[in-house]
Symmetry: C2
Subunit: 201 residues, 2 copies
């Protein structure tokens, strides 16, 4: 039904059920807070199966983040593809964020939270870094496409905006955060394209 699991039509594979449970619990409650036992209970999977499939809790966490990252990549690229103009493409990413943040279960950026919890030398931190680097590169590319005078600067500004809004939406439960970020993004893009040096090209 989903990927393989030849005959049993109803149930997903143990691996997918584990990743599903990990996604819900790690994301909503944090990585350190949630123990293995709660994950296997929700997934309906034996503990031995988890360790056969993933080897350790850390590797399960890494897989959970990897999957989140791939889903987010797909979501962002799909949004971008809806528009032609780079300015609209950038703003559409903030629209997508607004939709995600409106979900009552929204708990901030999974990568930011994981990065804050992880030890600096862990494989988890490496996965977080990878995802954040991809996002920065995407915003920077769009900034260049939009004709920003300094694409790297605008890229950093947009990512910061994204991070800040995500934090406010989560910690402060601020429903305006996404809208404010979109407004600010438009302002920054226009300012960067007009150029700090007065003369538009």
């Amino acid at each position: 039904m989903t990927t393989k699991t030849a005959s049993s039509p109803e149930r997903r594979s143990a691996r997918e059920r584990l990743l599903g449970a990990a996604d819900e619990l790690f994301y909503e409650e944090g990585i350190q807070t949630v123990g293995i036992d709660r994950i296997i209970e929700r997934a309906g999977v034996a503990k031995a199966s988890l360790y056969d499939l993933f080897g350790s809790k850390e590797e399960l966490v890494r897989s959970y983040l990897q999957r989140r990252h791939e889903l987010r990549q797909a979501r962002m690229l799909e949004r971008i593809a809806r528009h032609e103009q780079p300015r609209e493409q950038i703003l559409s990413l903030f629209d997508a964020f607004a939709e995600v943040a409106a979900n009552p279960k929204f708990s901030g950026c999974a990568f930011a939270r994981a990065g804050a919890e992880a030890r600096p030398d862990s494989s988890i931190k490496a996965t977080v870094d990878e995802s954040r680097a991809w996002t920065l590169a995407l915003f920077t590319r769009l900034a260049a496409d939009a004709g920003a005078a300094d694409p790297q600067l605008l890229g950093l500004q947009l990512v910061s905006l994204y991070d800040g809004a995500s934090m406010s939406a989560y910690i402060d439960r601020n429903p305006q955060a996404a809208r404010v970020a979109r407004t600010t993004a438009a302002l920054l893009v226009d300012a960067a394209v007009a150029g700090p040096k007065r003369n538009a090209h």
Copy 2:
């Protein structure tokens, strides 16, 4: 020497040593990661003394955050007092942030990290909320002083900027983050004062 501790001149009180150790360890490594044993070891204090003085780990965490909040309040107000113009006052807060973020032990915003780790109904979360509300109110007040067309909007924008830069400086170890935030803040302030409605007053 510091506050009381009548006769022993060298050593600070057990309470202060505990708060000092908590400040270093909780801030650098996270609240969940650091156990009571490591704190009392670094503080050179008996476990019984900790529980006599604070009653629980949660209360120790709360006190640690409360102290951080008060120190930050003082630091921000002192910075503001150095300037007359609201615009300069706002930018001076980003200068102060740049100095803090340049410290190699900088580990992001203590309140953001604690807020991400804490349960939503805990006293820790309440302390975080208090601190964040104070900061937002401060930025909003300065935005109004600066003559922003929409002070609440500019306040939210500046706080988001602050949060985003803090995250980037910590997770990405990005040394440019503070400078970028300052640049962006100047741009946002000017845009807000000029007004989106074309006519400056």
